[in-house]
């Protein structure tokens, strides 16, 4: 397991060796990205009409073809197979650009590049790569990823689709997959199935991964009629004794579930990038609308309740951008396991977008509610992000569980109290503040206090609940929110420090303004989450929920 900023936050440590310096793109990569951005935005302006895609429930063929022409499908594929071999920092920045324009097209692209081809890229054999990657790079083949089933959603490990080994050495796949992005048109699907012929140590059937071509005979079901991203394809896939040759198994038998989790973990920064792109676009649209819309003799952008919205949207989006690019930079530079940090990016990204689109709709008033403006469509498109690629609930528990692993070990050890960790865990010591410019000293101190609070809360919960903490979902969520706040503050400070170093305090005035506001907002959010651990009415909530479940609605109704 490689290094993690977040796991050390739970121990009261601020890893300035990983947090600093902020990983800006170098000049060459930045110039390249500028060109990519220009290509994408010009292509989009000429060919992508998000409102039409939403209404038609379909991305038109010319968009698919145009994206192929500009080389969009090969972004993550190595150059030797005809791709561009973009690293995560570059790929996510390109995702940001497409997501500004259309949510459905962004999801289609991510379904291909982020999860669809990932098993092949990470675990495929040389022969498998040579067989499929060149055609995936040109877009001749489009990819999808199939894990979920009707009875296996968040609990993916309970999947039932099965591959039986036949006498001729091939496998026969049967079962149903659900919610398959790109499933309606994909030519190659990464499918996770039970393999009873390769039992686990406990005798239960293991999970393995196969590359299944459409021509092998699975049947896509009816397109789901969705709230948002209506132009994207989401279908069930039906497997009725589909024969798949043994050479299409990816990795070793029984490795499927670990692979599925790693693919999802590694892909979440891409989704966060989508959310960043959509949020930035919404902020620009809201800025324009509130400048142009005049009431009581002045643009509504001058009214404090509108300014509050524009200000907090900008602060949140800035924090999200810092967090996503700090994370992608770490993935590329340190090659660290990005599971927890990526999960935080996904949680924060999807929730910042949801808050942003909600504020933007409100800024636009009645117009925000109509299809004459992009706001209502983007609100519908934004909602699913909090659900798929791991619900934000499951991810919060995952963040807390991963973070708690080390405190759980250490609180039980005899010499803990007298150790450095002991001093952090009992609130006697806070981590050294990140070295940042003078102007951000107060924010840096606040971050140290936030990390100290997190370490203390983690130690207390570890002592109280032990390994059962995973079941204390509300406490886990509070811990995850404290983690999110501190990780985001660290990212914002990292970027601001780099900008001030490079440009000087005067030139960095806007960066400092954003950083200060974002840090304070995040610190407040962290303190609020810490407060939820101490001051809550969870018992009342649980009892009420039980009554609701039992009565099937509001308890105690009176005429």
């Amino acid at each position: 397991m490689s290094e993690s900023i977040v796991r050390d936050l739970f121990l009261g440590e601020l890893r300035d060796d990983l947090i600093l310096p902020y990983p800006f793109l170098d000049a060459d990569a930045a110039e390249m990205l500028g060109m990519v951005r220009e290509t994408v935005s010009r292509f989009a302006a000429d060919h992508i009409d998000p409102a039409a895609i939403d209404q038609a429930h379909k991305i038109p063929a010319e968009v698919f073809e145009g994206l192929a022409e500009i080389g969009f499908y090969g972004q993550r594929i190595p150059e030797e197979f005809g791709g561009l071999d973009l690293n995560t920092s570059q790929y996510v920045r390109v995702s940001v650009e497409l997501a500004r324009i259309d949510g459905a097209t962004a999801i289609m692209s991510g379904g291909h590049s982020t999860i669809g081809i990932k098993a092949l890229l990470l675990y495929g054999s040389d022969e498998q790569k040579a067989r499929y990657l060149p055609r995936l790079a040109t877009g001749e083949l489009k990819a999808a990823f199939a894990l979920s089933e009707p009875d296996a959603g968040s609990d993916a490990q309970s999947l039932k689709c099965t591959a039986k080994l036949r006498d001729d050495g091939a496998y026969e796949l049967s079962g149903e997959k659900l919610w398959i992005t790109n499933g309606g048109f994909a030519d190659l699907v990464t499918v996770f199935v039970r393999t009873p012929d390769h039992p686990r140590d406990d005798g239960r059937p293991s999970i393995s991964c196969f590359l299944v071509e459409k021509s092998m005979g699975y049947v896509p079901g009816k397109e789901e009629d969705k709230l948002g991203i209506r132009g994207s394809s989401t279908v069930p896939l039906l497997f009725d004794k589909v024969v798949v040759p043994a050479e299409n198994m990816v990795g070793k038998p029984g490795d499927g579930f670990r692979m599925a989790l790693e693919i999802l973990n590694s892909g979440r920064t891409g989704l966060a990038g989508n959310c960043l792109g959509a949020s930035r676009f919404l902020l620009e649209e809201a800025a324009r609308y509130t400048n142009e819309r005049t009431q009581f003799g002045q643009p509504i952008a001058r009214f404090p309740l509108i300014q509050e919205k524009l200000g907090r949207m900008a602060q949140d989006i800035h924090a999200l951008e810092c967090m996503v690019f700090l994370t992608t930079g770490l993935i590329d530079k340190v090659g660290m396991a990005p599971a927890v940090e990526s999960a935080l990016c996904k949680i924060f990204g999807t929730e910042v977008l949801w808050a942003t689109v909600n504020d933007a709709v409100q800024c636009a008033g009645g117009n925000g509610f109509t299809t004459d403006y992009p706001f209502e469509r983007m609100l519908r498109d934004a909602r699913v992000n909090m659900i798929f690629e791991g619900t934000n609930e499951i991810l919060r528990v995952m963040v807390a569980t991963a973070g708690m692993a080390e405190p759980l070990k250490r609180v039980g050890e005899a010499d803990t109290l007298s150790s450095e960790y002991g001093r952090k865990a009992t609130g006697r010591e806070a981590p050294d503040p990140l070295p940042v410019p003078e102007a951000l000293q107060a924010e840096s101190l606040a971050l140290s206090m936030g990390v100290a609070d997190l370490a203390q809360a983690a130690a207390k919960l570890a002592a109280e609940h032990g390994k059962a903490i995973r079941g204390e979902q509300l406490a886990c969520a509070a811990l995850a929110d404290m983690t999110l706040a501190t990780y985001a503050q660290a990212a914002v400070l990292s970027r601001a420090a780099a900008v001030v170093d490079a440009e000087g305090e005067e030139a960095a005035a806007q960066e400092l303004l954003l950083a200060k506001g974002a840090c304070r907002r995040l610190a407040r959010r962290g303190r609020e989450a810490a407060g939820r651990l101490r001051d809550h009415d969870n018992e009342l909530l649980f009892k009420t929920a039980e009554a609701v479940s039992e009565l099937g609605g509001l308890p105690g109704e009176r005429p």
Binding site: D28, E31, M32, G34, M35, T39, L84, D85
Partner: protein
């Protein structure tokens, strides 16, 4: 065939222009820069000719600040073979004569069979550089071409003439042609092309020029649009409206 295309880095059309402190230049802060759109027609034409001929070389030439490598790189990403940057921090204050002289000097080394330019850059809109360049090089010039074919070592070009007529010329090569809308649809730089552009050469040369014959004395933004005026309501307002349109706005 060696084709040289001259391009210029200009502010994007939707930029909010501010006048710089010196009163004669545009404040570069917060501006997005692009290749002047007419120059893109020239680049596309060059690439199409090279592709049709199955060979040859397309060289992109610009006079501009060091940052112009971005626009050159974009042309390389579209498919051009190499680029020359005449680095001049004061490029924006050079007049057309000085600009043409510097470009002509560079083209002298490039052994060009054909030189293509946009009909004008969309920042100053003077439309002089192409013709001045032809004069400096002693080459024939056709401006604002909207069709181009090369046959038997000659360029057959079409341009719009007076009153909607079409003029077609046969031009001996080498020649200078300036391009306008309708000539083609410029391609996007593909992502693959962008990656490959990294490996293509940009020849950066420091240049300096004597002051040109023209000195820009001042640069001013257009006056802000005046507020609308309501002259009355319904049918009664029509005579007054007509009077104002005729006498004040002078549009009738």
């Amino acid at each position: 065939m060696n084709i040289v295309v001259c391009i210029k880095r200009v502010p994007a059309t939707d930029s909010r222009i501010k006048i710089g402190a010196d009163g004669t230049s545009i404040d570069p802060a917060q501006i997005e820069w692009i290749i002047s759109p007419y120059d893109e027609f020239a680049v596309e034409a060059a690439l199409q000719m090279k592709e049709a001929a199955g060979g040859g070389e397309v060289t992109i030439l610009t006079l501009g600040p060091a940052e112009s490598t971005k626009e050159l790189r974009t042309c390389l990403a579209m498919g051009a073979d190499k680029a020359v940057l005449l680095k001049d921090a004061d490029a924006s204050s050079r007049d057309a004569t000085a600009t043409a002289a510097l470009l002509a000097e560079a083209i002298g080394d490039l052994n060009a069979d054909l030189v293509l330019c946009g009909k004008q850059a969309i920042d100053r809109d003077q439309g002089q550089v192409g013709t001045l360049l032809a004069a400096k090089l002693g080459l024939p010039c056709v401006t604002e071409i909207r069709k181009l074919e090369i046959t038997d070592g000659k360029a057959n070009v079409e341009r719009a003439g007076e009153d909607g007529t079409s003029e077609t010329y046969n031009v001996a090569l080498p020649a200078v042609l300036t391009c306008t809308k309708g000539l083609n649809e410029p391609r996007y730089a593909s992502l693959k092309g962008i990656m490959m552009a990294k490996k293509k050469p940009i020849d950066e040369r420091d240049v300096s020029a004597a002051d040109g014959a023209l000195q820009l004395a001042s640069l001013e933004l257009p006056p802000p649009r005046r507020d609308g005026r309501i002259v009355g309501e319904g049918v009664e307002a029509v005579p007054e409206l007509v009077r104002l349109l005729r006498e004040e706005a002078k549009v009738l």
